[in-house]
Every structure is written in C-alpha cells, then in structure tokens.
Amino acid sequence: MTMKTSFAFALAGLALVVLALAPLVLPDYWTGVLLGMTGYVTLATAWALFSGPTRYVSLATVAFFGVGAYTVAVLNEVMPYPLVLLCAAGIGMTMALLVGLSTLRLAGVYFVIFTFGLAELVRQTVSWWEVNVTYTMGRYVFLPFEGRHIYWQLLVLAAVTLLISWAIGRSRIGLALKALGDDETVAAHAGVDVTRIKLLLFVISATIITLVGAIQAPRWTYIEPSIVFNPTVSFMTLIMALLGGAMRLWGPLVGAVPLFLLFEWLSVSFPDHFSIILGLLFILIVFVMPNGVLAKFDDLRKGNRA
C-alpha cells in the first residue's frame, strides 16, 4: 500500500470513529438526520457500484430496499435479528440474480423502464399478498433499537460498501466494468465475460440496498407497502449518485450529503410541495450540469452499439 493510500485509510478511519461517537453528544434529532444521511450514502454508493461504470440506470432501488424492510417486518418476531438480516440479504440476492439474468440483456431506456416497472410490480405483489393471503394491511416491527443503534449498523454497512467499491475499483473486475460501460463488444473480444460481470455487480449492489432497507425497518415501527416501496427512494438515490459522480469512489457520498440535508429541509418546510420541488431539482441537475460530473451520463450507453 502506498503512503497516499495509507493516509487516506487513516483519515477515513478517523472520520468513521468521529461519526460513530457523534450520537453520544448530539441530540436525538441530529442522530436521526445522520441516520438518514448514512442510509442514503450507502444507497447511492451501492447504486453507483453497478450503474456508474456500466451506465445501466436502475430505478429498482426501492424494490430491493422495500423487500429488505418487509423481510424484517415479517420475520422479526420469528427469529433472532442477525438471522433476519441474513435472510433479507439472501432474499435480495436471489431476487437480484433472477432479475439480472432476465434483464441485463436490455439496453438503455428499456432497462430504466423495466427497473421502474419492477419496483411497482413488487409493491403491488406484496400488497396483494398481504390483503388476500395473510389478511394484514400493515405490520409492526418490534425491535429494541433506538435511533443510534440503527445508525451504527448503517455506518458499518456504509463503510463496508465504500471498502467494496474501493476494492472493486482497483481490481480487474473494476477495469472490466469500465470497459464494458464504454463498449461491450470490445470488452467481450478482450476476454471479458460481460454477462457474468454485470450480473455479479448487480447482485452485490442489490444485496447492499436490500440490507439498507432491512436495517432501517425498525425505524418506522409500522410498515406498509406504500411506505417502504416509495419510488422517491429510487429517484433520490439516483440524483445523489449523479450529482456527485457515479464513476468515482467518493462521488455518491459527495452528492448524498448535501442533497439529503436539502431534502430534509424541504420536506419540513414545504411538506405539500416536496414532490414538485424534487422533480424540479431533478430536472435542474440533469439540465444545468451537463458538463459537470453528469457529462458521463449524457452519452448514456453510447458505447454499446454493436
């Protein structure tokens, strides 16, 4: 490891310690803010893990997020918490494998539309199941967690996600991902098993996203499909990653922190107009910054014409 990397690691470690100690001195409200922010940092980083280099823009974030939360809601009284998390990860992974195998052939806008549809499909299926099979309209999550307990778990997950992103970025898989984002045909002729690598990254990304949903579930106490499958989660994750730069290790974090604070303030100050403002902001970011960090997404999947 070079001096520079060691220094970066030391700095990141220090920041982690400070962040971990923060709830001991901060009022509960600010712990809650940190919690939500860490959740989105993790979501955006995990999203960018796959969508950044491959340029497959996924709106399925909330499908996995919601499945994670629902798994906890269904299983939290049946088995010990660590096992519940493991189940959530397993379910997310299996779902990602199935979705990936059937959709990673789709290119460009078809993939975007499919992933958006998938999130709706999962939400409707869960609703239907709850109403017609289990006869429950919503579920309660009774876990003895305070905000800071959830925050600490998310902090660990965020750190692990960044570590995975860092490791992939310097591995041959990271190189292959960048290459196939540019031109799948060239990557394949260079010896890259394009389908396998895309699937691998989609599964890793989706599993982390599922875990974010699972860990955050106890925060709501009461859970129903419209809460945990809210498409806003997908859109917010997407613009955070895009704003900061989905191709860089720290990009999603850099985008997530200010945007989360902004959204937090907006939802408190303008609760009725939040969606409109979110939409406008989305358009603004995409149109006003085409030459910024978003330039990379302008030529969305441009390189993949065979």
């Binding site: 190189l175 290459a179 045909t185 060239v186 260079a190 010896g191 390189g303």
Partner: protein, 242 residues
C-alpha cells in the same frame, strides 16, 4: 502441416440477404493470408463468425484443433484469437495503458499487478507507443489509435490475429510503418488473417490470398497469381475491365 484456422462451409444470412455462402479455407501456422473482396462481399462477417461476434447459421470454425463454432467472444479470445475492428474502437474512459491492460487481465494468462504493467509497456513499445500509456485515448491521432488497438489485440497473447482493414486510412508514410509492424509480427510467427484493400500492403505481406465476392470465395492461391486473375479484377472493377 496441420491447419491453425480451419473454416468449413460457413454460412450466414441477414434476413433475406445471404452475406456468407459456403465459405471454406484454412490458415497454416505463421501464415499471413489476405482476405480480399469488394465492399459488402462478406469479409467482416467471416471475421465476426471466427471471433464469435456473430454466430454462423451453418458450418464450422476450428482453431488449433478446438471447435470454436458458436462460442461466445470472450471464450474465443481465451482460445488465442484476437481481432481489431474495421472502425477503430478505443475505450474512451480508459487510458491508453488501461485499454491494453484489459486484454492482459482477461486474456489467456490473466496477468495483473506489476507484471501486467511491464507487459503493457512492452506491448505499447512494440507498436510504437512507448511511454504514452497515461494519455487519454481521445487525444491520440488516428494512427496512434490504430496502434493502440493492435497493442490491445496482442495483449491477449493470441496465436491467430484477425486484422479488419487495419491499414485503411493511413497516409503513405504511416502505411509503411503499419506494414513493417505486421511484418514484425510475421517474423515472430504470428498467424494473421488480413482483410485489406490496399494492394501494396497485400503484395508486401500476404503469401496467399482468398478473394470473396457476394458472400462466396471466388479465387484462392498465391498472391501474385490470384491478383491477376480476370475473375478477381472483374469482381473489383466491374465487367468493363475484365
């Protein structure tokens, strides 16, 4: 001598168009063979079927005794077949060195780390891009992009190289450099299938030629003989010149 590349009765149609019809030929180890023919005669399609970019409708592709028919491109690459593209296809978000590293990392021997970096430099030096690995491919001139693509192809350590009009678009002095490079490879024992329109290059490089027209092989043999055959001249220039 056993054939290194053996193509038998390859066939490919696109909708109603028969692009390649019953094409068979062999390449022996160390041979540089020209694949000629007017535009649209099916040369690129043949190359695509060898490299796995397209699957054939019928026929077989055999390289070094291994049946590669209908194999995916990444597996074909691992069996020692590398290619360049008719229109250069650099990977723009990767540096020059990373473009080459990709083939080393996923080629036959899966090089990585310091050893791979040394090999990248070696390949770049071979094509005349020594010390330019950190440059962005977008800043390279046309011939340098072609060089980089050649380095990327060689980095997967192939035994058979498919060059699709690799020399096209070069000015006369660049062409000389390009021909020298291929001759250098030939000297190292590389087997090359060369799609080419520039007769100067064909005469300089190819001991043997295969000529296609409208998807079929119409002539085959030593370059000097084949290029003067009336049927070949007619295919290239039309009836008036035969």
């Amino acid at each position: 001598m056993s054939a290194q590349l053996k193509i038998t009765n390859l066939h490919k149609r696109f909708g109603g168009l028969v692009a390649v019809k019953d094409v068979s030929f062999n390449l022996h180890p160390g041979e540089v063979v020209g694949l000629l023919g007017p535009n649209g005669s099916g040369k690129t399609t043949v190359m695509n079927m060898i490299s796995g970019a397209l699957t054939c409708d019928a026929g077989r592709v055999n390289v070094n005794g291994v049946d590669l028919t209908r194999m995916k491109p990444h597996r074909v690459a691992k069996h020692g077949v590398a290619r360049t593209f008719q229109l250069v296809r650099p990977l723009p978000t990767l540096s020059v060195a990373e473009n080459v590293l990709l083939s080393l990392a996923f080629g036959r021997k899966r090089h990585w780390g310091r050893e791979a970096r040394d090999l990248v430099e070696e390949k770049l030096a071979f094509v005349g891009l020594a010390g330019r690995g950190d440059e962005q491919v977008g800043n390279l001139t046309y011939i340098d992009q072609k060089r980089m693509e050649m380095a990327r192809a060689l980095a997967s350590e192939p035994s058979l190289l498919l060059l699709d009009e690799w020399l096209a678009g070069l000015n006369p002095s660049e062409l000389r450099i390009g021909i020298d490079l291929v001759q250098h490879l030939q000297g190292q024992g590389m087997t090359v299938l060369l799609v080419e329109h520039i007769m100067e290059a064909v005469r300089a490089l190819c001991s043997r030629c295969i000529v296609m027209s409208a998807g079929e092989v119409i002539a085959e043999g030593p370059s000097a003989e084949v290029l003067d055959q009336p049927v070949v001249i007619k295919a290239y220039l039309g009836d008036d010149h035969a």
